[in-house]
């Protein structure tokens, strides 16, 4: 995909108007504190807390469960331990540390000791980019090694992109979301090639 196409596809998918009914959820999400009272197997407690807060920002709870409700942070922690190669997991950790340091630098306090509002503000600022900056980030993280002089930016961006991807994948492949939110049909039994989308509702689970 070239730059122009990438840009176009991003504008397309972010330009979709959301349906009514999410505003109550929005309020709910803003007041909810993410829960990090689980014992990580790879991350340290502070890192696990940050991964949890970020997952919560990527997919907040609304009238339907959010990422934290379906144990996304725990699964990311497990993947880091079992699935990531050693260099991959160290790269993730390095980016996460840049994230935490930049937070401390900006707000003058450790991330985990700050208010949920400030945490959320910082996370959202990191992910809210113009389409052009998004392209720059995606191009940067496609590099195999950190370009000289841009190490912090490179590791932070790689972390943010990976955390987002893992959160989405873990969320939509969790049993609760797959069965209760998406359209779950393990044994369809027949093939109907063309039917009204209203008869299905949400996207098929798989």
């Amino acid at each position: 995909m070239n730059r122009r196409q990438l840009l176009k596809s991003i504008t397309l998918s972010t330009g979709v108007v959301i349906a009514a009914g999410t505003f109550s959820g929005l309020l709910q999400a803003a007041t909810k504190t993410a829960n990090a009272d689980w014992l990580p197997v790879f991350l340290n407690r502070e890192e696990a807390f940050a991964v949890t807060q970020i997952a919560d920002a990527i997919i907040p709870a609304s009238e339907i469960p959010g990422a934290v409700d379906v144990a996304v942070p725990q699964f990311i922690d497990l993947l880091l331990k079992d699935v990531f190669s050693i260099p991959e997991r160290e790269k993730f950790r390095q980016g996460l540390q840049v994230f935490l340091k930049q937070y401390a630098h900006q707000y003058g306090a450790a991330f985990h000791k700050s208010s949920v509002q400030l945490q959320r503000q910082f996370i959202e600022k990191n992910y809210t980019l113009s389409p052009e900056s998004t392209i720059n980030v995606l191009e940067l993280v496609a590099e195999i090694d950190a370009p000289r002089g841009r190490e912090n930016e490179y590791f932070l961006s790689s972390f943010l992109v990976t955390q987002r991807e893992l959160t989405i994948k873990s969320y939509f492949t969790s049993e609760k979301i797959a069965k209760q939110v998406l359209s779950y049909d393990p044994i369809p039994g027949r093939y109907d090639p063309c039917m009204p989308v209203s008869e299905v509702g949400n996207v098929w689970t798989f």
Binding site: M1, Q5, L6, S9, S13, T14, V16, I18, A19, T22, G25, I58, P60, S62, I64, G66, L78, L79, D82, V83, F84, S85, E124, Y127, L129, T134, V137, L138, L160, V161, R164, E165, I168, K169, S170, F172, T173, S174, E175, A178, V181, L182, D185, P186, I187, P188, G189, R190, Y191, D192, P193, C194, M195, P196, V197, S198, V200, N202, V203, W204
Partner: protein
Amino acid sequence: MINDSVTYDAIVIGSGISGGWAAKELCEKGLTTLVLERGRKVEHIKDYHTAMMDPWDFKHRSYNTPEELARQPKQARTGFVTRPEGKHWFVDDVDHPYNEDKRFDWIRGYHVGGRSITWGRQSYRMSEMDFEANLKDGIAVDWPVRYKDIEPWYDYVETHIGVSGQNMGLPHLPDGKLLPPMPLNCVEEHLASSISKNYKGRLLMPGRAAHITGDKVFKGRVKCQFRDRCIRGCPFGAYFSSLSSTLPYAAETGKMTLRPNSIVHSIIYDERQGKATGVRVIDTETKETFEFFAKVIFCCASAIASASILLNSRSDRFPNGMGNDSGELGHNIMDHHHRVGASGTIDGFEEKYYKGRKPCSVYVPRFRNLPGQTEKVDFIRGYGYQGSASRENWERSIPELSIGLNLKEQLTRPGPWKMGLSGFGEVLPHHDNKMYLDYKRTDQWGLPTVTFDCELKDNELKMRMDMRASAEEMLTVAGFKNVESFDDGSPLGVGIHEMGTARMGRDPNTSVLNGHNQVHSVPNVFVTDGAFMTSAACQNPSLSYMAFTARAADYAVAQLKKGAL
């Protein structure tokens, strides 16, 4: 060395698509048959342990661990076979090494049923055009067979296995004995109409796949449930595999002995009789060696493995490998080249969706270099397209950075419609595309390993340009947007249609097998896996292996009864 006191009527090497068919046919015709499988024992249904698992039932969902990947680095080149749901059907590359002078993706399944459990199930007949192609183009050697010779055997195997699909009356893709097709969805239908309207002699049709559809009853099998989890093994027996469809018939005769964990490393030749008398076997678990004897031997170990066994069957008469007077054994490796095509999205179908996961692609039959066609291209032979349309799911969001409730809301909805077309092209036979045995690098059983030295050549590379451009053009003409073409490269082997290593021909000086899949110089040895293919055509080949196996078994039994073998 343990000599089995029993002499069987027949030995079948391998239990995959060809071996299962050989076993069924030989047993049903009354021959006591020993089926030797190098891999582990598998029981139909019972051993498909991932078949009913959902993503969250796997500890790491769809991810592999580095430890898992380290065991299957070559199998993983396909990009799909080593995922947790099906990885146990593909070999451990560390335990089963091979060598590459040039890259070759040798994707193997060592277990009872072989790759019949994991095959793509697309089932197309070769046509008269395909059997005449080498003669007309003056390349390699002529097939000693024509369509009329094999037609009744296509009828026979299709009727037994069940193939869903639609007959289109095309001379270059013959009609078959088909079950009801898996219909096109509305976007596939849209592309089909556009192609028919805009291109003379080109069409898009439902693919033909070896799945049961409709109401015809197949013993011990249930029709397709549209789960699209075929690679795990089907607990409904809905698609053809040796386990669902041939080995049970062979077993039912009481004539079959199936011995797993048995590597056949060579065939025993008796110079006095001018025939093979049996096979030498190593038990993979005990490492004991055995000899088994039979009147007739069917090599169905897959193209590369059957050629290896013959190459390793050296004697005074055959110093370069059994049946290798021509020097063609192990040469002329072909496959189908693919991983080239285009995809695009389309507007106007937002209110439409489907139910069920169709385990079968659509098919655009070959439209280049057909008889009587005047339009010229800069390559010979041709290709077909497979593909499908579907609505994207949450994975579409990965290449962007948005977060929050908007994102969540969007991703729970069906995404845009996307259609992809991917070509499957014919690979020409070249003598210098070859495999050979390396006696210095042996495996854990002390057997020589296979080395590959073959690659795509000029005709295939030119064809790929057209495969890419034509897919892009057809989608664009049909009003698709964001059309992107791709060519991900196609090393030989990655089509998992490796073939041609013991080709059929009319002349023993230039081919290994005659028109009955019989080794020219050793009449009681038959080779009926992909090794026999004289040319590749562009159709998925397994249906042809089944038809040629059934025909060869019929011939072998008739010859045995006449006392000619």
